[in-house]
């Protein structure tokens, strides 16, 4: 009897725990939004990161001179500047007028001196930990110190900043929409010794005190690595009309897609940055809303390497590349593996990218593909090909690599190839083998850093490296490379776009790779979340979000 009483007592205790945990507390003055992130932040100093998770959090806290109109990937709007800059005729000087009355989260003033301090700080990053992690500054401006294309950043008065470049830089403005170029409080950076190396001793970068001190609608509160990062509403936000509506956002790293979906269904989280396309139907049937990300900012493609280990492959033959482009049923893949969340590419850029030009891409046509293959006059042995796909990875442009590779192999077999599917672990060699030119035909993709043609065409794929074609494709085209270099140094964006258009014409004429999809990775949120605006580059702002009971 005593034992029964004990069991009942324990049961009552468990039941009370259950009841207590299942009761959703009533939101108090805006409430807490819980967001499931794809992974953890890396550093709490945005200038030292290049990963999407850190930037997703930073977007709520840090602001730059310019930004992107919410929901778009390339519509540049002034943020801490009052307007877009005036540009000198030679394209070397950009002058920004700044907002007045803006304060950093630590109460110090935002002004031209603060902007100059930040740009000078990045340019002066020392070799080692700082330069190794500040990828974007080096990539955008061609290096640090005297290698940087930035000649001077001047602050002639508190509301004017003048950038002078050594050579014109057509991607300057769009690249500055990245959160890594957000302006942080010089007072906080100096006080907390934000340039300390090694980074294990850098409390600012580690988020273990005052970190990420910007001007945004939310303020950084704390970060427990691998567990959560929290930002709270900025009560003194300079743009009252766009102030945050929720009190707090907790970002919870959640790598597992099934766990993320269940957490949404149970209400443990309110919004998931991404969910698997395979879970979209389940999410919809669970009354969850799918994030409309509108404009894609990535491209998944079938890589064709024309030279592996110095030996030409069959992909050096243009008719073979054309046959493959005609053989693959891209729309079919999008319907089957992307839950319809994607579009067939019309070029080597997503359609909303600056510099995009629609090309007449080869349509899915088995008859034409067979004809192209006949023209290529391959031997039976040459028609036996290896197709590589990565294992143990999911990418926004490649949610199910094995299934996609299997479908492509099936389509290629239908026109006469004999395809041998091969795989390597993404982390355990695939990326290295693909990018160093060891894979003849492979699945890969690129997610934009910024939605400019240069970021895809030059940085990711076809820009010569060390004076040689990118080993990934072995596509040698001096004209295209010269055009890309010219485009990068054009004084105006329009002039650069004309060059990028010509580069795309050359690509369409030569088909060095086969673009497969511009996807918009799905995310989801519960019915409690209102006012969220998704974006194809996954830089999304939560100041418009409200929570309902």
């Amino acid at each position: 009897m005593k034992r029964l009483a004990s069991i009942l007592a324990i049961a009552a205790l468990v039941a009370s725990a259950c009841t207590s945990s299942s009761t959703t507390p009533a939101p108090v003055s805006g409430g807490t939004l819980v967001v499931g992130l794809d992974g953890d932040m890396v550093f709490a100093d945005p200038s030292l990161v290049s990963d999407g998770n850190s930037l997703y959090v930073a977007a709520q806290v840090i602001q730059g001179l310019v930004g992107l109109k919410p929901g778009t990937i390339s519509e540049i709007i002034p943020v801490l500047a009052t307007d877009l800059p005036t540009v000198s005729a030679d394209g070397k000087t950009y002058t920004f007028k700044l907002r007045t009355g803006v304060k950093f989260h630590d109460g110090s003033d935002f002004n031209a001196a603060a902007v100059k301090f930040n740009y000078d700080r990045w340019q002066a990053y020392t070799k080692g930990d700082l330069q190794d992690n500040a990828y974007y500054y080096g990539a955008v401006f061609g290096g640090f110190g005297t290698d940087s294309n930035v000649a001077t950043v001047a602050a002639p008065d508190p509301t004017t900043v003048v950038f002078t470049f050594k050579t014109p830089q057509s991607n300057f403005l769009i690249s500055q929409t990245l959160q890594v170029f957000g302006i942080q409080s010089p007072t906080a950076l100096q006080k907390d010794k934000a340039d300390t190396t090694p980074l294990k001793d850098n409390k600012y970068a580690q988020g273990q005190g005052e970190s990420m001190v910007g001007t945004g609608p939310f303020m950084f509160k704390d970060w427990t690595p691998a567990d959560h990062a929290t930002v709270v509403k900025n009560p003194n936000y300079w743009d009252a009309a766009n102030a945050a509506k929720v009190d707090q956002i907790t970002f919870k790293p959640m790598g597992d897609s099934t766990a993320k979906l269940q957490a949404l269904q149970s209400g443990s989280i309110d919004l998931a940055q991404t969910i698997s396309p395979a879970d979209v139907a389940t999410a919809k049937s669970s009354s969850l809303s799918i994030i409309d990300r509108g404009q894609s900012c990535n491209l998944g493609y079938l890589g064709l390497n024309q030279s592996v280990g110095g030996t030409p492959t069959i992909y050096a033959n243009k008719d073979v590349r054309l046959a493959i482009a005609q053989a693959v049923n891209k729309q079919g893949y999008i319907d089957a593996f992307y839950a319809g969340q994607g579009k067939v590419p019309q070029s080597w850029l997503p359609a909303a990218t600056t510099g995009f030009k629609a090309e007449a891409m080869p349509a899915y046509d088995v008859t034409k593909a067979k004809a192209s293959l006949t023209t290529a006059a391959l031997t039976a042995d040459q028609l036996k090909v290896d197709l590589y796909y990565p294992s143990n990875v999911v990418r926004p442009y490649m949610p199910d690599p094995k299934a996609l590779a299997t479908a492509i192999a099936s389509d290629l077999q239908a026109v006469g190839f004999t395809v041998n599917l091969k795989t390597e672990d993404w982390h355990g060699g695939y990326v290295k083998d693909a990018t160093t030119g060891n894979l003849p035909m492979f699945l890969f993709g690129w997610t934009c850093d910024w939605a400019g043609a240069d970021n895809f065409l030059y940085t990711a794929w076809f820009g010569y490296q060390g004076g040689k074609p990118n080993a990934q494709f072995g596509w040698s085209n001096d004209q295209a490379n010269a055009l890309m270099l010219k485009a990068l140094q054009e004084p105006t964006v329009d002039a650069a776009n004309a060059d990028w258009g010509q580069v795309q014409d050359l690509l369409a004429a030569d088909m060095p790779t086969v673009p497969i999809v511009n996807s918009t990775p799905p995310g989801a949120f519960t019915s409690k979340v209102k006012g969220f605006v998704g974006s194809g580059n996954a830089i999304e702002y939560f100041n418009t979000v409200t929570l309902t009971k």
């Binding site: 299942s22 190794d132 992690n133 707090q248 099934t258």
Partner: protein
Amino acid sequence: MLRFIVRRLLGAIPVLLGLSVILFLFLRLLPGGGPAEAILGQHATPELVAQISHTQGFDQPLYVQYFDYIGRLLQGDFGSSFIDGRSVVDSFLVRFPGTVELTIGALIFAVGIGIPLGRLAARHPNSWLDGIVTVISLFGISIPVFVLGYTMAFVFSVQLHWLPDVGQLDPRLDIPAVTHFSVVDAILAGDWHVVDALSHLVLPSIALGSIPLAVITRITRASVIDVSNEDYVRTARAKGLTDRRVNSRHIMRNAWLPVTTVIGLQTGQLLAGAVLTETVFTWNGVGSWVVTSIQNHDYVVVQSLILIFAVIFLTVNLIVDVGYAFLNPRIRYS
């Protein structure tokens, strides 16, 4: 006894040194890129990889890297992650409490249910009751942890909303991380938040404890049956002792020995982290950290963590061995 403990501790030193050499070489023989590729992600061009490898010392000869690592280790510096620059010790102190809590939860579940079930089965061997216990054991040991975890999360969180399925604490409660032991932090925060912390422990503990439960149940059953057939038990019954007294004084006291060994071994394993359980329940522990670090070729983190796990495992084993002497006075170590 003291000599035994000292000898065991000294014996651990060559084991740990040997392990460090094997780990060091093995990790660097893994296929694929290195930490520079992981830092750079999709931006990993050969030039940038070479630049970072040089500045971070990844291109140094292996023996230089090894002696550099061991030299710092002997000074108590376990190094820092190549990826986030964070000290291994700092990260360990944040994540290990979660693993300890989960281990305790899983052991309470496994021992609290496993031993009574094993005793029950042993008292009625080959009966239908024994059959049910056997089925439960087989179920626990054969069902994959992630299947059990997802299923329980679906039933108890998604459908019934009885128990939470994410993390150690409700993020909406905003409980400060003081000790990183969620139960302790919840107690410190007051306002009955400890109920929230305990409710978060229930499902992961059951999922993680399912295999130890099965093992402990089977071992308890076998051990109790074994001891029950001993002459001294028959003698005790013949003397007219009550069933309860025979069980507690003569059977269980002796049956404890193998059960203790198994619990000790299970504890050592659980403390090294539970990758699947941590993943399914988004639990911040050391298991998933090891996996991520291996994927990122974050050598220093993996080396240091496995050495720490080895120390924990050796310590738990030593405690079990020492505990033997207290449980069984006939055992003496020399």
